[in-house]
Each structure stands twice: as C-alpha cells, then as structure tokens.
Symmetry: C2
DNA sequence: GTCTATACAATGATAGAC
DNA sequence: GTCTATCATTGTATAGAC
C-alpha cells in the first residue's frame, strides 16, 4: 500500500527521499478522493507532514507532482500486463487471470487506482493534460492478444477483437466502479461471473458446455 | 438542445427567467468540461453573459446552481425511463429500445449527460454531496424489470437480475465513455451489438439462433 | 533539505447604487 | 433585476534564514 520508497526510489540515503515518497502517497490519496482541482497544495503537505517549500523542492509544482504519480502508475501497469501475457491456459482462463491481476493491483494500490480511474472517467479538462486513455489502450491490447490466441485455438467464436476488448473492459471497469461506490458489498468474483455470462450467452437454450 | 426556458420554467414574463436558464446552461457545459471544483463562478457568468450578482440572485450560491441542474436531470431521466417501461417486445428488443432512448437523451442533452457521468465516475468528494448513484439505480431498476418480463416469457435464461443489470449497464456506460473520449468514432450501434454478443455468448459452438 | 514568513493572483460572495 | 465596486479567504508559489 505505501510507496515503499526503498524499492522505488534510488536515493543514496533513504531519509533523503522520505519526504518525496510521503508526498506522492499523500497527494495520490487526496487526488483520488477530491480530484486534482479539488485538492490544495496546503492539504497535500499537511497530510504528508511537511511544509510547502518541501513540495516545491522535490517537484516543480502541483502539476509536476501529479505527473510523477502517473508515470509511476504507468510502470506498474506495464509490469502487471507483461506478466499476464506470459501466462498460459485457455482464453477464458487468461481473461480471469487478467482480472485477478488487475484486482490484486487495485487492492494493493487502491488510492492510485482510484485516482487514475477518476481521471479516465472524469471531466476532460478537470486536470492537467495527459494521455489518460493510454491505460485503457494497454488493457485493450492485452485483451485482444489473449482473444486472438484463443481464436487460433478455436476456443472462442469469431468476432471483432476490438469489440471483445470493449466487452471485457467494460465488465471489469464497471465492477471496479461498483466496488468503489459500494465498498460494503465488494465482490472480487463478480467479473469472473460476468465474463462467464458473456461467454455462455444469456439467450435461452444457448450453449453446450 | 438549449434549456427551452419556456417549457421548463414557469416565469410570468419569459425574459425574467432568461438569465436563470442561460446560467443553468452555461454552468452545465462548464461543469461537464472542467468539473465542479475546476469551474469558477466568474467563468460561469462570463459564459452566460451576465454578472456575478445575477447568479447569486437566482441561486443561493455555486452549490445551489449545481443542485438545480441535478434536479432537472432527475426529472428528465424519470420521464425517459417510464416511457421505456411502457414499450413492448422481447427482452432483447426492449433492452435495445432502452439503449436508444438513453442515446437520444444523451445526444439531446450532451453537456448535462457528460456532467452527470463525470460525477458518477469521478472523485467521491470532488463536488457537493449528492446521491449521484440514484441515476444508476433507476437504470438498474428498469433493466431488471425488463429482464424479469423476459424471464416470465422464457426469452432469457435464468440468472441473477442484479447481475444482468450490471452487465447491461456496464456495456451502455462503457459505450458512452468511448463516445466521449473518441467522438470521431462515435458508434450508436455498438451497445446493440455488445448486448447481442452477451446474449448469444462468445464461446465457440454456442447457441441456436 | 527544511523551515518561517510572505507575495500575489484567483476565488466565492456581497453591499449598495440604479 | 442588474450593475460596479469591493471584501475576506484561499490558492499557488517563493525568498531567505537555518
């Protein structure tokens, strides 16, 4: 959950980077909760337990801090997806595996995920310009790769891979949305069921297995 | 697409309510684009072509203006959904009809929709407290009603109605999301295809019709 | 590297004239 | 109902001491 500064930042003396890590963590939590515009520098430094000049020492400004968080998230996602692509199994199993990896990441870095989720689905000019869509594009790429493998093995019916990516992504995103707004009813297996439902079809009389 | 002040506000002399309508319209567009916190009162009145005291004359404050917009949206959604529930046809056809009604509403009141969409999926404390989730709950209620009718007629396979609602809602919401971020590739028929895909199933060898 | 103190622009909101 | 002028507050950001 924390930034684990030692692993992520290569400061010679750990204490030197402590302020930076704690600022990133505090800002992530606040941006996730209140949005970029809704979060003041004063709040960030208060939560981080430092003073304003410390923030401006480590980051160019509020926007620079914001961008640092996003670059960090980009790396995390990259690691996660490349790991998923190495996994084997049927398309269905790999979709489930993808979901479970996403879910693990979301759980471990909840604030970070919420922040990015808000940025992707929030007002287009609500925060500094940034290609937020890339997070979804990377997800879509992975889904399509899995689908194409499954198609080559005859595990799935033929369809537009882009459409499949949209289908799977929408189910995962909406499940995460539900977990966000109803944390009392979190259900990690919902996407598995939903993906399965989509696989097997809703129509009466459908499907063999 | 404008507020059509005459239909919505019952001012004796139309000009008296012009400022109010134009303020609602301007604020909706700005909130949709930049979020609540990211939009200043100055911007709103500038866009509306009035001065600040005019805003505070018609609304308690920025938050009051915000809430007025949401109450308006609530009414619009209510009308739309009750109309959909009166429609006939198979479950599949009624889901498509629901989507088309949503899509028409979204098109006609694009700023309003975008604003609410951002609020639903945006940071929880990014704007004044409000039960944004009610918009989704109303949608879910409609979907479940349609599904139950279809089930009674044997048109759909048995499943958890809540789960069905999540499935359909996620497909619609994600399609709207795609339209929002890729307006150059808007595809009003995507949800129809996606819902059909979910109905027929992805698994190879599935399904009769 | 971190602090106190402060500069200075922008914000939400209002008083009071018309 | 609408304006000009203004207020208090909060915002981002920095100078300069330590």
């Amino acid at each position: 959950m924390a930034l684990k500064a030692g692993k992520r930042f290569k400061g010679r003396k750990p204490e030197e980077q402590d302020a930076k890590a704690v600022l990133l963590e505090a800002a992530t939590a606040l941006f996730a909760q209140k949005g970029y515009a809704g979060t003041s520098v004063r709040e960030i430094v208060e939560r981080a337990g430092v003073t304003k000049p410390v923030l401006y020492y480590y980051f160019e400004n509020k926007e620079g801090l914001f961008r640092s968080i996003l670059e960090w998230a980009k790396e995390l996602q990259k690691e996660m997806l490349s790991q998923v692509l190495e996994s084997g199994g049927t398309a269905m199993e790999r979709f489930i595996h993808l979901w479970q990896s996403v879910y693990r990441g979301v759980t471990e870095y909840r604030d970070l995920f919420n922040m990015i989720y808000n940025l992707i689905f929030g007002p287009p000019e609500g925060s500094p310009n940034y290609d937020f869509d890339q997070f979804q594009r990377e997800m879509a790429k992975t889904i399509k790769a899995i689908y194409r493998d499954g198609l080559a093995r005859g595990e799935v019916r033929e369809a537009d891979p882009d459409e499949i990516a949209v289908l799977i992504l929408s189910l995962m995103d909406y499940s995460l949305h539900l977990d966000r707004i109803h944390p009392e009813a979190i259900d990690p297996e919902r996407p598995e069921r939903l993906i399965q439902m989509a696989f097997e079809g809703l129509a009466a009389g459908g499907l063999a297995h």
